[in-house]
Symmetry: C2
Subunit: 310 residues, 2 copies
Amino acid sequence: MPNDLVSQAMAGNARAIARLMTLAERGQPARALYGHAGRAHIAGVTGVPGSGKSTLVRALAGQARQRGLRVGVVAIDPSSPFSGGAILGDRIRMADLSTDDGVFIRSMASRGAMGGLSAAALDVVDVLDAAGFDLIMIETVGVGQDEIDIARAAHTVCVVSAPGMGDGVQAIKSGILEIADVHVVSKADKPEAQRTVSDLKEALSLGEHPAAGAWTPPVLASSADQGSGIGEVLDAILAHYAWLQSSAQLAVRVRAIAGRRLLKVVEDQVRNRLDLQQARAGDHVAQLVDRVARHELHPLQAAAEFLTND
Amino acid sequence: MPNDLVSQAMAGNARAIARLMTLAERGQPARALYGHAGRAHIAGVTGVPGSGKSTLVRALAGQARQRGLRVGVVAIDPSSPFSGGAILGDRIRMADLSTDDGVFIRSMASRGAMGGLSAAALDVVDVLDAAGFDLIMIETVGVGQDEIDIARAAHTVCVVSAPGMGDGVQAIKSGILEIADVHVVSKADKPEAQRTVSDLKEALSLGEHPAAGAWTPPVLASSADQGSGIGEVLDAILAHYAWLQSSAQLAVRVRAIAGRRLLKVVEDQVRNRLDLQQARAGDHVAQLVDRVARHELHPLQAAAEFLTND
């Protein structure tokens, strides 16, 4: 049954894609799918709330479509407490684009996914990847470890800053500045936008100087309302991927992403195992916890036993 | 050598205690010590920055000394980037109390400890516990998961709120309200203090009603400057521990603490293992990461292999 879904999704069936995404959100990704993923260019678009990420992502999706790319979007929406609400949102948006099967937009509620938001989001991305979308954008709020982890699972990380939101550049404060491959100052029609661009450039020049042949993250201004700068942002995102490929950095990054993704899954599983098993008296984990509680075993010793024998 | 230190620390030797704490901070706790710990009453004192935690803890320590209790304090100081600085702070404070070996105060820099702040802090507490201190207070800022985890590792959690710090009660926002066994509104000499007490009481009454025989967290006001209310706060902290013992809830809580502590250590170790080993090409973890990167193995499958075979 999941294998049927996989072949249907790979043939572009939107229902099958949506169904596999729902399974992924529930922590039951179709593993057969993973072997068919790994070909798309994955771009993370992140920024503080109000930075205009969503508008930019939609403008970028339109631009990429014009260039003939098949585009997927996975939006992690922290304001949505139930995935039900997010799915409803999808339907509305998808209806607008129903004549275009070259675009697929999925919203995920950040509180909806069980078994780790990060793992679920990347499994959802895999569905679009295996279904043959060329460019997949993951939109996340750049606040909170989970969201930052998701952004870092992209080949290209695009950090969006809005002009005139308090003192200086918010991205600096939220700690996502250093993970950016492309900086975008949104709402470039605002008078303060140029100031934010220079603030960002200054902040970046204070950092380490890039080595020869390294990628220098550009700072671009865009206005989704006016439609200005969108092409340049897409150019930069695609240029970064081309640089990754030509410099052999793609393999390095893909490996780092795989390592972090494996770590996340292992952590989720360890947490589940130590949680679930505590309920069952007498089993190995319960015994370990009891021996720690009775001070018979130091947590380091119990951890070693858990990791070797469990 | 560590075993010599352990017997010296248990005999009350301050140098041996300090040395064992330094080892614990470096992720090398003397495991022999753990078997001698588990007798002290551990109280976590937490609150947002500026809530007056430190002043309260020192007043409580003085009050507890007057009652003949041997008192240890472990203060997690996020403002201190180097444990060196924190240690210097200790010496100054310890010098003031140098004639009293019934008090031991240790500051830890939250950024200093390697291998997990939470694990290190609890290993430092163990040193005081094994050295026979009766009441050990852990002072942490109630912001950030690590700090909240540390507070939750105490038998009795005391949450401090300062009056008049913005809208309403900060503890509500930081999500530490529900872990409190005792609420303290500090700086009771301020005119807004009574308002904060009623705000807190109202917020608490909106929560679930406690079951019969359950502990109802009291809301107390204190002023360390005026010396008012300190005795009542200490009474409440000790009364909570007495309730834990009489209701058999102590064993339940100790087990939950042991479970969370084990989980933390396992997570730290998993993170280290997946990190360190990535450097060594060809080993099992590196191979797993490579297979995930090549999309040969889903992260869930790799995690299962890591957890069973590694």
